[in-house]
């Protein structure tokens, strides 16, 4: 009798604990399921991203100054199969902006009286290398060119101290995947006393997917244009 009474009094307590435990386990189970779902979603997303990356183009843009394009120089030869053949420089001039250096030369030549060839060359060139897995077929560059005359030249020859030119270059060339390279001369810097060239832009792969080109800045100086003769 005493035992039955005790059982009847204690039963709700352990049952309550059991029910509480069961509820906690259900909550934990639900949380685990949610975590599993999120983890799986993220994993698949990452796999998709990796797969996409494997199909993407990746263009590395480096800037350099090339002294000359020698394709018109008949004295440059290379030896191929024990034969001397005239060397052909692979640099194209079809994207070369000529009017700005020409104007600058017209301004500075009467002042400095150097030979023409000292106002030519030193070409700002973009070196494009495609390390990705898709061919690139279009590159749009936004070029910002800042030309600065020295104070002495600007003041005594009534020139503007600084000039900014913004222009776009649309490069329609195929750059092969996995290391395809191309060098594009953009503008001659030989006639600029001091210059800063900033480049941004975008490029497209053969699937027409767009990628951005991060800003890069190149500066230089031609010291012989800084002091008046």
């Amino acid at each position: 009798m005493i035992l039955l009474q005790a059982t009847q009094e204690n039963a709700p307590v352990w049952r309550t604990h059991l029910q509480d435990g069961n509820q906690i386990a259900q909550i934990i189970g639900t949380v685990m399921v949610v975590i599993y779902v999120i983890y799986t979603y993220k994993t698949f997303k990452q796999i998709k991203k990796q797969t996409d990356y494997q199909q993407d183009a990746y263009l590395k843009v480096e800037n350099s100054i090339v002294k000359e394009i020698n394709d018109q120089d008949p004295s440059i030869v290379t030896i191929i199969d024990n034969r001397i053949v005239q060397s052909k420089n692979s640099l194209t001039t079809k994207y070369l902006r000529k009017d700005i250096p020409q104007k600058m030369m017209e301004v500075l030549k009467p002042i400095f009286k150097f030979d023409d060839n000292l106002f030519e060359g030193n070409l700002f060139t973009v070196n494009l290398t495609n390390y990705g897995n898709a061919e690139v077929n279009l590159i749009n560059l936004n070029v910002c060119l800042l030309v600065i005359n020295s104070k002495e030249v600007a003041e005594r020859k009534m020139l503007r101290e600084r000039d900014t030119h913004n222009f776009k270059v649309k490069i329609e060339e195929i750059i092969g995947r996995n290391g395809g390279k191309i060098k594009i001369p953009i503008i001659s810097t030989a006639s600029f006393p001091t210059y800063t060239i900033t480049i941004t832009g975008e490029y497209y792969d053969v699937r027409n997917k767009k990628y951005h080109i991060h800003e890069s800045v190149t500066s230089g100086q031609n010291e012989h244009f800084l002091k008046l003769p």
Binding site: Q72, D73, K94, K98, F114, D115, N117, L118, A190, E223
Partner: protein, 150 residues
Amino acid sequence: MNGQQLFEQLYENLLIIGPSEKNLVFYNEIKMSIFNINIIDHFYQLKKNDKGEGLAFEIMFFDNNYIYDIVFTRTTVDYITVLINSVNMAFVETNYGQIKNEKGEITIIDKLQFSISYGGDLRTLVYVMEIKRFSEIHRIKNNLLNTIQK
């Protein structure tokens, strides 16, 4: 004209290339060392620096015994002396014309090359400049050959 006078005359051209302090010292040292040289003919030019950025100042002159070829850049000096009797050929080559590219833009080629071969065909002093200096170079070539003949 002696060597020292020539170097004094050309000093302003050296300053255009913005030489280092050390190169100014070298220029003066060379100037002093060629005091006794009676120059028969000479030429000089500012050209693009083959070794780096900026300009180079190139001087060539000769007397009865030697040809001197000196090139100053902002940071370097190249000083070649060639025995005049070892010269076996002087060669003036010109190229003047126009080339049209695929866009129809015209590029003017304007080049004069003066080569002096000495001590065998493989050793050559080469000077490249614009064609407007042909008469000057032609004169130098003739004077050089006349000096060798003597």
